[in-house]
C-alpha cells in the first residue's frame, strides 16, 4: 500500500485535499485537523462513513459537500455498520470481478463523535470490531454532544459543566467518571487500539498509518478540543490540547492485540491538571472553594492512571 510520508506541517497544505477547507465547523474546531490528517496520511482510496454530529452536519449540507472521496452518513449510531457493509461489498465484488478498478488499494474508515462512540453507537462499533472487518474507527472525542448544544456524554469527565449535567448552587457539574473507551476496545482483542492527539501530529499520523496498514478492526480515540463547549478562544485550540496531553488528562498510547501497551508520548514537564482545567470555561466552577476537592480527585485519578499505564508498558502487557 502507498502511504504518503509527511515530514513537516507545511506538507499537509500541499498534499491532495480530499477534505475541502470549505465547511461549517467552528473556527478553531479540532475535528477538521484530525480528519485532514487522516486523509493526508494515505494515498489509498478511501471509503468514509460519519455518524451524525458536528463533523457530519458541517460537511455535507446539500447541494454542497466537503468530501472529495466516497463518504456516507446514515444516522447517529451506525457509521461502523455502514463502513463495514461497504467493506463486505468490496470483498464480494473483488471476488466476483465486478469492481471498476480491482487493483486500487482501498481503506475503510468511520468517524464518530464521543456521543456516537461512547453512548448511542457503542453496540454498532462493538459488533463491527467483533466481526473482524478490515476498517479503522476514529472517535473525535470532544467530551460532549457538541452538535446539539453541549449535553453530557459518557465521555464527559467528572466535574465538567454541560447543559444536562450543570454546575450550579448545589452541583459541581457531571458526577460520573469518563468511560475507558480505549481499554474497552483493546478488550475486544482489536489488533490496534490507540489514543492520539492532534497537537502531537507526527505521532498521530504514524498511529493513523499503523491502523490503516493493520489488517482487521482498529480503534482510535482522538482528543478533539471544542472551542464552543469547552469555552476557550478559537486561537487556543492547540494550546489547550497541549495542556491536555502534558497534564496527562489525555495520555497518548497504543495497545497492540489487546495485550501490549506502548506509551507514545512522555511529557518532559508534566503539568498539574489545574492548569488544563483553568484554561476552559467548562471547569470554571471547580475553582470555588467548595468544589476544589473535585480538582484533587481528578489529579489523583490522572496520577493513578499514568502509574498504571507505565507499569503495563514496563511489563510489556
Amino acid at each position: 500500500m502507498a502511504i504518503t510520508s509527511i515530514k513537516n506541517l507545511k506538507e499537509f497544505s500541499t498534499t491532495n485535499e480530499r477534505f475541502e477547507g470549505a465547511h461549517l465547523l467552528c473556527p478553531g474546531c479540532a475535528h477538521s485537523m484530525i480528519v485532514r490528517e487522516l486523509l493526508n496520511c494515505t494515498d489509498d482510496n478511501l471509503v468514509l462513513a460519519t455518524n451524525t454530529g458536528c463533523l457530519e452536519v458541517s460537511t455535507a449540507v446539500y447541494p454542497y459537500t466537503s468530501w472529495d472521496t466516497s463518504w456516507i452518513h446514515i444516522g447517529f449510531e451506525n457509521a461502523a455498520s455502514a463502513v463495514t457493509g461497504a467493506e463486505a461489498m468490496y470483498k464480494a465484488r473483488k471476488r466476483k470481478g465486478t469492481l471498476k478498478d480491482p487493483d486500487a488499494p482501498v481503506k475503510f474508515v468511520a468517524f464518530g463523535g464521543d456521543g456516537s462512540t461512547f453512548d448511542i453507537g457503542f453496540q454498532w462499533i462493538s459488533g463491527a470490531v467483533e466481526r473482524g472487518h478490515d476498517f479503522t474507527y476514529i472517535c473525535l472525542d470532544n467530551e460532549n454532544y457538541a452538535n446539539t448544544g453541549g449535553q453530557r456524554s459518557s465521555a464527559t469527565p467528572i466535574g465538567a459543566h454541560t447543559s444536562t449535567a450543570q454546575a450550579g448552587r448545589v452541583s459541581y457539574g457531571k458526577k460520573q467518571k469518563k468511560k475507558d473507551i480505549v481499554g474497552i476496545f483493546a478488550a475486544h482483542g482489536a489488533p490496534y487500539v490507540a489514543q492520539l492527539s492532534p497537537n502531537k501530529w507526527k505521532i498521530m499520523a504514524k498511529g493513523f498509518q499503523k491502523a490503516l496498514e493493520t489488517e482487521g478492526p482498529c480503534f482510535i480515540n482522538t482528543v478533539s478540543a471544542c472551542t464552543t463547549e469547552w469555552k476557550f478562544d478559537p486561537k487556543d485550540t492547540i494550546h489547550v490540547t497541549d495542556l491536555a496531553t502534558d497534564s496527562l488528562m489525555f495520555p497518548i498510547y497504543e495497545i497492540i492485540n489487546g495485550t501490549k501497551l506502548n506509551i507514545l508520548y512522555r511529557p518532559k514537564n508534566i503539568i498539574p491538571v489545574e492548569e488544563y482545567l483553568a484554561a476552559q470555561g467548562r471547569y470554571k466552577h471547580l475553582f470555588k472553594p467548595e468544589n476544589r476537592h473535585v480538582i484533587e480527585q481528578i489529579q489523583k485519578e490522572i496520577d493513578e492512571k499514568w502509574e498504571y499505564l507505565q507499569r503495563r508498558e514496563e511489563a510489556s502487557v
Binding site: 457530519e56 455502514a82 461489498m89
Partner: protein, 411 residues
C-alpha cells in the same frame, strides 16, 4: 464461482425456504442479517448455502437488526446487490434505517415474514410490522403462499434495481401460515432465475473512485421537501416497472401476477378486500357461498401494498354493492389502514359501495373459512337492505362480548 444447486421441477418448500432460495439464485453480493422468529430460517438456510459453497457473496451476521440494515445501506451504496430478512420487533428496530435506505434510493430487498408487534410479546403472524413500514418509502409486495414468496422475491430485485425505480423493496409473507407451511413450489433453475434477475447495475457507487459520491447529506427547509416529493413520485410511478416485471415473469413461467389481484369479481355483488394468506381463505369461502347460497361473492387483494393500486381498486369495486375491508393490524384509535385506503379510492368515483371494516387475526388468531363466510353474509345483508346493517368497524373472531365501533348512518 458459487456451486449451482440442482432443483426438481417441483420442490416441497415452506415460505422461508422459498425466499432463501430466491436470495441464493439472485447471487446477492451482501446479505447482512439478524435472526428473529419467524424469519430466522431464511437467515439459517442462507448460512447453510454459504457454508457449502453455494454463495460467493459476503454474509454479515450483524449484532442487531438496526446494525444489519445499516450494513445493508453501506453495502448497497458500495454498488452491489443486497438483501436481508426480518420480522416484527426486528422490523421495528430497523425502522429508522428503512427510511434512510429509501431516502438514499438504495435498492435493497427485505423479505419480511409478518408477525405481531409487542406488547404483549407474540411470535405469530399478523400485519402489524408490515403496516408500520407503509410510510417508509419502500415498495411493498405481498406474497400469499410459498410459491409467491419465491416468485416475488426474484421479481423484487428486478423492480427495485430498475434504473427508473432505484428504491428498496419489501416482500411480505405471513408468519407461520406461509413461512412454516411446506407446499409445492415450482422453482426456476439457477441459470433461468439469474438470467431473469440479471446483473446488478451499479449507480453512484462508493467504490468508483474516479467519481466520488456523498451519501446521506443534510437538507433543511430549503431542499428536504423537494427530495421527499421526488421520492414519492418515484414510488408512485414504480407501478409501470412492477407491471413490466410481472409481464416478463409470466412469459418465463406462465405465472401471472397483478398489482391488484381479483378473484370472481366479474359479476360480484359483495367483496372482501384482504392481504396475505387470508386471501386464499376468502376465495375458498366465496366459491362455496356461490355454490351453496347463491351469494355472488368476490375477493380483491392488493399485491402491491406500496405503491397502492388506487385506480385498479376503483375499477374492481365499481359495480360491487357491499365491501368488507379486512385489517390484520390493530389500528388503535382509528379505522383500519386498508379500510381508509379503500374508502379513499372509492370516494372520488360515482360508485358508492357500502364499505365496512373488520379487524381480525391479531397475534395469529385463526381466521377460518366460516369467519370469511359470515363476513360475506353480512355484506349480502347490506346489499339487500341498501344500507349498512352493522357497525362500521367490527372485530371478527374476538372472544368475549362483541366489539364494534361507529354506528352507520342509515338512509
Amino acid at each position: 464461482m458459487a456451486d449451482k444447486m440442482e432443483l426438481n421441477e417441483v420442490e416441497v418448500w415452506d415460505g422461508n425456504y422459498a425466499a432463501s432460495q430466491a436470495l441464493r439464485q439472485a447471487q446477492v453480493d451482501v446479505v447482512a442479517a439478524y435472526p428473529i422468529t419467524p424469519s430466522t430460517p431464511i437467515v439459517e438456510n442462507y448460512g447453510a448455502y454459504v457454508a457449502n459453497g453455494y454463495v460467493d457473496g459476503e454474509y454479515v451476521m450483524a449484532e442487531s437488526e438496526h446494525g444489519a440494515m445499516s450494513a445493508c445501506v453501506g453495502a448497497a451504496a458500495a454498488g452491489g446487490r443486497v438483501a436481508t430478512a426480518t420480522s416484527s420487533q426486528g422490523f421495528m428496530l430497523m425502522l429508522e434505517v428503512l427510511y434512510q435506505a429509501s431516502g438514499m434510493r438504495l435498492p435493497i430487498v427485505l423479505t419480511v415474514v409478518n408477525r405481531a408487534v409487542a406488547s404483549p410479546l407474540n411470535v405469530r403472524g399478523d400485519h402489524g410490522d408490515m403496516y408500520a413500514g407503509r410510510d417508509s418509502g419502500w415498495v411493498q409486495i405481498d406474497a400469499f403462499n410459498a410459491q409467491e414468496a419465491y416468485d416475488l422475491t426474484l421479481c423484487a430485485f428486478k423492480i427495485g434495481e430498475d434504473l427508473d425505480v432505484r428504491l428498496p423493496v419489501m416482500v411480505h409473507q405471513d408468519g407461520f401460515v406461509t413461512s412454516h407451511t411446506a407446499q409445492n413450489v415450482y422453482p426456476l433453475s439457477d441459470e433461468e432465475a439469474y438470467a431473469f434477475v440479471g446483473d446488478y447495475k451499479p449507480v453512484d457507487e462508493m467504490l468508483d473512485f474516479s467519481r466520488p459520491v456523498t451519501y446521506g447529506a443534510q437538507t433543511e427547509e430549503d431542499w428536504h421537501y423537494e427530495h421527499k416529493a421526488k421520492q414519492h413520485k418515484a414510488l408512485m410511478e414504480s407501478y409501470k416497472v412492477i407491471d413490466k416485471v410481472f409481464e416478463e415473469f409470466e412469459k418465463k413461467t406462465g405465472r401471472k401476477y397483478n398489482r391488484l389481484e381479483q378473484y370472481m369479481m366479474e359479476d360480484a355483488e359483495v367483496a372482501i378486500v384482504a392481504l396475505g394468506t387470508t386471501v386464499e381463505t376468502a376465495i375458498y369461502a366465496a366459491e362455496q357461498l356461490r355454490k351453496d347460497e347463491g351469494i355472488k361473492a368476490g375477493v380483491v387483494a392488493p399485491r402491491s401494498f406500496r405503491p397502492f393500486p388506487y385506480n385498479e381498486i376503483r375499477e374492481a369495486l365499481a359495480n360491487v354493492k357491499s365491501v368488507a375491508v379486512l385489517d390484520r393490524s390493530c389500528p388503535m384509535g382509528a379505522m383500519g389502514a386498508l379500510y381508509n385506503e379503500i374508502c379513499g379510492a372509492m370516494a372520488s368515483t360515482p360508485a358508492n359501495p357500502l364499505v365496512t371494516n373488520y379487524i381480525y387475526g391479531l397475534g395469529g388468531r385463526d381466521f377460518a373459512v366460516e369467519d370469511a363466510k359470515n363476513i360475506f353474509r353480512e355484506q349480502k345483508a347490506n346489499a339487500d337492505a341498501g344500507y349498512i346493517t352493522t357497525e362500521l368497524q367490527q372485530f371478527s373472531g374476538l372472544r368475549g362480548p362483541k366489539l364494534a365501533f361507529y354506528e352507520a348512518k342509515r338512509s
